[in-house]
Symmetry: C2
Subunit: 338 residues, 2 copies
Amino acid sequence: MSDSRFSSPSSDRPTFDVVGIGNALVDVIAHASDDFLVGHDLVKGAMTLIETERAVELYGALSGAVEMSGGSAANTMCGIASFRGKAAYIGKVDDDDLGQVFGHDMRAVGVAFPGELSKQSVPTGRCVIVVTPDAERTMNTFLGVSSTLGVDDLDESVIAAGQVLYMEGYLFDRDPAKAAFRRAADVAHTHGRTVSLTLSDSFCVDRHREDFRGLVADSVDLLFGNEDELLSLYELTDFDEAVAALRAECSTGVITRGAAGCVVVTRDELIEVPAVPVDRVVDTTGAGDLFAAGFLHGYTTGADLAECGRLGSIAAAEVISHVGPRPLVELHTLRDDD
Amino acid sequence: MSDSRFSSPSSDRPTFDVVGIGNALVDVIAHASDDFLVGHDLVKGAMTLIETERAVELYGALSGAVEMSGGSAANTMCGIASFRGKAAYIGKVDDDDLGQVFGHDMRAVGVAFPGELSKQSVPTGRCVIVVTPDAERTMNTFLGVSSTLGVDDLDESVIAAGQVLYMEGYLFDRDPAKAAFRRAADVAHTHGRTVSLTLSDSFCVDRHREDFRGLVADSVDLLFGNEDELLSLYELTDFDEAVAALRAECSTGVITRGAAGCVVVTRDELIEVPAVPVDRVVDTTGAGDLFAAGFLHGYTTGADLAECGRLGSIAAAEVISHVGPRPLVELHTLRDDD
């Protein structure tokens, strides 16, 4: 429950602004109607974990698709690099075509991706994303090798070298990853770093509520989530009560509320930041990931919390204006103070 | 040199409007500057064949990319399906991720793709496409297993079942494929079908001019090409002379001229068809492929040659308005006579 941003600095100057840990996935993006969701029992807007058979069935039923690298924390690290911040990523891919694609796209934007390709012959994970005409995305994730990440896959020197550790709640669906998160948080705190977590998905929070609660209370300095996820975490229905619960446990909380912007809370402050309006929302994939990228870039470059929220909103607005979960323009060019 | 559209019909009614044969490729599309082309000795607008090492080098130097199914004749077959025509495709992919992607995307739009996945452990071919700010695409093709297509890979019952056989000149870079083209043309003619060919690329024509000349003179009823390709075929510099040479050898020729539209020539007619204007050209990848799709759809549904050209222009205009080589809207909805 320390806030290492304000604790005594580590003896080492951090090499990276942020080190992310998450499910390394390639997105398979296809457009479909609302009827398609109903016909395939898909819950609009949710992320559902699927096994091989279901992945094959869904993919087979979809129209022509586009493949591009995704993964929540990976998108966030790419966003930070696009702001010209320094990011590193820990996540597992196989030595197959999609694993090669994932690694290429991380390195191409300048994110350090020090892991080796897995030789376990478990395929690289993929997220089959159905985009409906209202631009909502419904995600069906076949985790593949990504979900086998455990303590042994952590490069502790990388974690120690990051000013902020950023962990993706999606990965928290498997026990080895839970152990890895606790270990990663310990390593970060030992080196005087800030530990952040994104809750990722209200269903994921629901499946692992007690573990999430324990992690947040014991180890998280900076928590990201949306309104649904926060309410699920504390099993509350009132937003203000949930915010109060969060403030008692975590030094900084950042709650996104879609088009209503975000709320940043500390023990002493509550700051509301409006969303950046966009002409047309094309695909909301990556909105939360890029919000976190902007916020973290501000956070690691000394901006105040309102400015962190503003940078988050700028990055989210860019990514929802086009298909795909990663920015198409250099985000640093969108900062009007540059 | 027969024109089977007007010859006595085969005893079998065709199952498919068009059967395409080509290099089965997945496109890897990335944006880069003109300086990138210069720095990597790339000839803007051309298609260059590359080997593994060069493919790795170029891919490594490019920024984040998007993967989507491509391949010239494959794009054309998808366009025909998008007009609600019936298309089949013959081309080779490996049993790897990209091969799965390719097969999915063909079947998803309703193109029959009867081939089995190759077990040769030669990877699925890919085309690394660099899109410059002027929307021009420069293609670097690692052919992989696609270029191993030979006579044994032809399903003659499929070729016999197609009203038009459509062969992609790009495939003509290897001897086994040349033999396969001659065999496929023979099978088609035996069943009273029309044989068409697209020249694909002036450099490819230049590499294999005599073989192309022989194929056109002996076997092709309907030839597609652009101005550069036609001039290269006959080693001429004057367009009118090249058109005259084509008319002497081939019953129907369709020459595209970019924004200037196309010229359709038969022994008796010369028809000029204007291009359909577009608000903004985003990516010219697939322009020629989709032009052929529209033309062939008209041709196989009894339209006159001017209308065939108009349908080609409509399809080409759609595909150059967005990133990617295949239509994003159902092309049949763009026919104003529907």
